[in-house]
């Protein structure tokens, strides 16, 4: 990090420029006295699919706008394919953007919309026609070229927006909550479709969402943001199973929080005690804490198992929530902060094996992470 901070040239560092599609170096954005983005650092591999995930207002759109050049940063630098973007006006950045409401030009046909970027580049008419036709075929809208945007369904409009952004062969594709206007079924279909198109074209993509399941299912890597800061960057699996930040652990996926005590640390592993139950955790997140210090243990519902009374944390079955492929079992237990544990049991047998009211023991079986308690 220190070396990057010192770097001031206009070329990204040679060692990394070959495969880095986007490099965001300490970018800060302020609106008056309010800092919407605090020194963001991020590297995105060429051709990969990066998701910016975070709650509303955390600065995701701000970061996209900085990349697209619609906003100017107050500090830091952005490189796309090794080229410094700071002095490049938005229309020369070669970045395709799909807007939340698609922003299809209402006065132009689908063909004209898709061809807009090519016309702006002075591409000859015949080439425009053939590239537009190819692109419309790719998004399965070949028969819709003459329609106006308002004569299309939401999913079709979205595909036009995607085609329009991709036909210019952008160095980078930005998608700002592209699914928020679609109903749930269509959303799933479009997720798969966009992912396939992205992979087949190999375009570096940054996707913005506040939906964690969308992020987990679509991304090569996820950057979790909150309050203008990037909290953690990693693969969906790393983010889900090995969060390095308390916020990330509670924002991505369901989680149980149990008060615990740090027992000891050995190299990169540590153990904590929840009552009499010992749980192994990575040591990185409890660095600097002395044995005996209070910590919060974060355990996913699928990293817990229900067993006979006497094993693990004591509890009483409170309710079952049938979910099709699994059953969410709520267990009243004094071990957790909320007084109730959520356990995800695969299959559908849980209600028979563990009827409501039965005394059970809950054991951690998978990854768990400990964090220092929240400053009160």
């Amino acid at each position: 990090m220190a070396a990057e901070r010192l770097h001031t040239g206009t070329e990204a560092p040679a060692a990394t420029s070959a495969r880095v599609g986007v490099q965001i170096d300490g970018v800060t954005k302020k609106f008056g006295a309010f800092t919407a983005l605090h020194e963001a650092w991020l590297k995105i591999e060429q051709g990969s699919f990066m998701t910016l995930l975070g709650p509303s207002g955390c600065g995701k759109t701000t970061l996209l706008n900085l990349l697209a050049g619609f906003l100017e940063a107050n500090g830091g630098e952005i490189f796309v394919d090794g080229q410094l973007m700071t002095e490049t006006p938005p229309y020369a950045r070669e970045i395709g953007v799909v807007f939340q409401n698609y922003a299809l030009f209402p006065h132009m046909s689908v063909e004209k919309n898709v061809g807009y970027g090519l016309a702006a580049r002075g591409v000859p008419k015949r080439e425009i026609a053939s590239r537009v036709a190819d692109m419309l075929a790719l998004v399965k809208l070949s028969d819709f070229g003459h329609r106006k945007p308002k004569e299309l369904s939401g999913g079709q409009q979205q595909r036009v927006a995607l085609a329009r952004a991709l036909v210019i062969r952008p160095k980078l594709l930005l998608l700002d909550e592209p699914f928020s206007a679609l109903d749930k079924n269509l959303r799933g279909a479009m997720q798969v479709e966009i992912k396939e198109i992205q992979r087949s074209l190999g375009v570096t993509t940054i996707f913005v969402t506040h939906d964690q399941s969308e992020a987990l299912s679509m991304s090569d890597r996820i950057a979790v943001m909150s309050a203008g800061r990037i909290r953690q960057v990693g693969t969906p699996d790393e983010i889900y199973r090995r969060p390095t930040d308390r916020f990330v652990a509670s924002f991505v996926g369901d989680v149980n929080v149990l008060p615990a005590k740090l027992e000891r640390r050995l190299d990169d592993r540590a153990s904590v005690m929840v009552g009499a139950v010992r749980v192994e955790v990575p040591a990185g997140t409890v660095d600097g804490l002395a044995p005996g210090a209070a910590v919060d243990l974060f355990v996913r519902p699928d990293a817990l198992a229900i067993g006979e009374k006497g094993s693990g944390f004591p509890g009483t079955i409170a309710a079952h929530v049938y979910q099709g492929s699994h059953v969410d079992v709520l267990v009243d237990s004094p071990a957790t902060t909320g007084g109730r544990l959520l356990v995800r049991v695969p299959g559908t047998q849980a209600p028979h094996r563990w009827p409501v009211g039965q005394a059970v023991g809950v054991t951690p079986t998978g990854d768990a992470v400990a964090f220092p308690p929240e400053a009160a």
Binding site: Y91, A103, P106, H107, A120
Partner: protein, 283 residues
């Protein structure tokens, strides 16, 4: 059907006003077909002579000139108001927004006579414009602006500026800024974005603004009367001269009726000619 108990109560004042208006128009209409008896306030028998007189080059010329002035005024106002409206809608600074809005709208709150007198001060041979230009050494002799078509158009642009600005601003504020961003990200420079996205999408506002400005200018009186000083005849000043200087009410009425019909005709024509453009911007 829902009963609306207050409908009659609310509609009746409007109906009365409309009735009075229709009555007045009917009176003017019937005057237009009566003969002028010189020296008498009372009109004579039924005749078409008033409308025949309108075809004389003198009067027909005034009509043409009026249409021309209205057209130029509407177009110049459009060119002045567009950037103003754009800045009002898109500016991020609230101070700038308010300043521009006040600048654009004050002409509305000034009385017509006050406003016209101010223009006399500005446009006169030793007025503001000429003194500044002379002070800068750009001209030797004053440019004649008072009593000229140019002067009248300048003052009329000021009259129609507020309404045009409001109409354009309304149209522009309905254009999502995302369209412009999208065009920019696709590689269009500012000029291209304006010509291919902003301008076509604001077409409904432009059509509404231009036709309204045209109609307003057609009926403007104080401005052509005072700035033109009788040397820039327009239909309204002609009506005034005939009605109140010559007391030829029948002919004045014929002029009024024809002016009204002409305005409607031009508006209908403009509407027909511009409707493809307007549809272009419909969303």
């Amino acid at each position: 059907m829902k009963t609306r108990p207050f409908l009659a109560l609310f509609v009746s004042p409007a109906a009365l006003a409309a009735l009075a208006l229709v009555g007045a128009l009917a009176a003017i209409l019937q005057y237009a077909f009566r003969a002028f008896v010189p020296g008498s306030m009372e009109p004579g028998g039924l005749t078409l002579a008033n409308f025949e007189a309108l075809l004389r080059p003198l009067y027909a010329g005034v009509f043409l000139q009026t249409v021309w002035i209205c057209l130029i005024t509407a177009l110049v106002t459009l060119v002045v108001a567009y950037p103003l409206a754009y800045a009002i809608v898109r500016s991020r600074s609230v101070t700038l927004k308010s300043f521009l809005l006040i600048t654009a709208l004050t002409p509305m709150f000034l009385g017509e006579v006050v406003r016209t007198y101010s223009w006399i001060i500005v446009l006169g041979n030793s007025g503001f414009i000429n003194s500044v230009l002379r002070g800068l050494g750009l001209i030797e002799r004053p440019i004649q602006l008072m009593f000229t078509t140019t002067g009248v158009v300048i003052a009329l642009v000021h009259v129609t500026l507020p309404i045009m600005t409001i109409m354009l601003a309304a149209a522009l504020s309905h254009i999502d800024a995302a369209y412009e961003k999208a065009a920019t990200s696709l590689g269009a420079g500012p000029v291209r974005v304006f010509l291919t996205v902003t301008l076509p999408l604001s077409m409904p506002g432009i059509v509404a603004g231009v036709t309204t400005a045209f109609a307003w200018t057609f009926s403007a009186f104080a401005t052509p009367q005072m700035i033109g000083g009788g040397r820039v005849p327009m239909v309204s000043t002609l009506i005034y001269q005939l009605g109140f200087a010559s007391f030829n009410f029948p002919f004045a009425a014929a002029l009024s009726v024809t002016g009204l019909a002409l305005t409607f005709a031009v508006l209908a024509l403009a509407k027909a000619a511009l409707s493809p453009l307007e549809r272009m911007g419909a969303h």
